[in-house]
Symmetry: C2
Subunit: 222 residues, 2 copies
DNA sequence: ACCTGAACACCGTTCAAGT
DNA sequence: ACCTGAACACCGTTCAAGT
């Protein structure tokens, strides 16, 4: 028997081939995004999303099996758009140093999130809860490729022999540092960006220009 | 006018002075923890929690203004217990190296989470969503003190001049790396622990024993 | 084939009545 | 002062009827 493996999993009900269907899905997602940006999660419910999208609640449920499926689709779409945005920077990036390139990427990331700050924060917060239903493998792969290429260009300066591992760590580190700044009432993005760049340089054991610290000293017991 | 600032904020309704009240609160939280560990968030609802706790739904709402307040209280209590557990290790820890001490802390953290793995994962996932209602300042301060003391003991070997910043970064980095391992079906904790220790050592620019990599090399443009 | 929205179901929350 | 649980309200979801 061929059937949907998990009953009620928050995945799209059908992949639409017709233009009208796609328009309905887009309208629902745009409405959901608007509601989340304007009123936060508290204001987001299926009836409001359907109304704002200009479709009946029944039509909404034709394409999304449940409320979480809308969030899942939103997160996946936005992640893809985010990767697009970073890829753009990476293509034109060929700065003097890894720090410069990384800084440029982070600045773009900040600018991107800042277009819809509340939506971004809400979806980031929901992502953990919805993780098992998300499929971000392709998009993660794209981001890993961007960051990996960046690190690879400076491989000779890296201490970590495993480039893939370093890439994953750098991705996690930068994300957690930037998200922790996003939680503040009035985030100081330039400062957070510099701290993140510094943390990554530290992690990669790359000396910043003008840094005269004792890189060669190892940890001495007691 | 003195009044509760945020209407319906998920905070305890009253601080109980009587033993019976405290017992009711404990029963509700224990019931909630059991339900979350057994059935996940999907199985957690206020009626089920009240029933399992052996109190009426009305009594539950006497102490918790809403469902999220139960989660908030659970997260805060568990975070405090977690800090207790790590403090225990830190007190008796005085290993040969920072890596050893850190490894011991992480092993304890893993063991602690492993007592109720599903509960831990669920609460970690909910924490982002509930962040604005959580007050973990005291507990974060305790963890920072533990980690800060550890790093301070090896201050001479650190490259980062700002110990507080380094402490915060190390806390964020270890947490994100360990949580990313927790998402796997069958986490490999020893490997994740070693990777986290390695990431921190890298971040702090401390050479691991037997590591012959080129610490002195700085990033060369192009 | 797709849309509609009234109706249903579930559960979060309240409140009148009890002790 | 505290407890109780039936009742209410809100919203997620369905489905019979329409086109």
């Amino acid at each position: 028997m061929t059937h949907v493996p998990i009953q009620g999993a928050p995945r799209p009900r059908k992949t639409p081939s017709q233009a009208r269907s796609r328009a309905t899905i887009d309208a629902v997602l745009a409405a959901a995004a608007h509601i989340l940006e304007t009123g936060g999660v508290a204001a987001f419910n299926t009836n409001a999303a359907a109304e704002r999208a200009g479709v009946s609640i029944g039509s909404l449920y034709q394409y999304f099996p449940n409320k979480d499926a809308i969030l899942v689709a939103l997160i996946e779409r936005r992640f893809a758009a985010f990767a697009d945005s970073l890829a753009e920077v990476a293509d034109s990036a060929d700065g003097a140093s890894l720090a410069d390139d990384l800084r440029r990427l982070l600045q773009r990331a900040v600018a991107w999130h800042d277009m819809f700050p509340r939506l971004s924060r809400v979806l980031d917060a929901e992502e953990g809860r919805l993780e098992e239903h998300l499929d971000l493998r392709v998009e993660h792969g794209r981001l890993d490729a961007i960051l990996g290429a960046l690190l690879g260009r400076h491989r000779h300066a890296l201490r970590c022999p495993d480039l893939d591992l370093a890439t994953r760590h750098v991705a996690l580190i930068t994300r957690v540092l930037m998200e922790s700044e996003a939680r503040f009432e009035k985030p100081d993005w330039p400062a957070a960006t510099e701290r993140a760049v510094g943390a990554v340089m530290g992690y990669l054991s790359i000396r910043a220009p003008g840094d005269a610290s004792r890189l060669t000293q190892s940890a001495a017991p007691d």
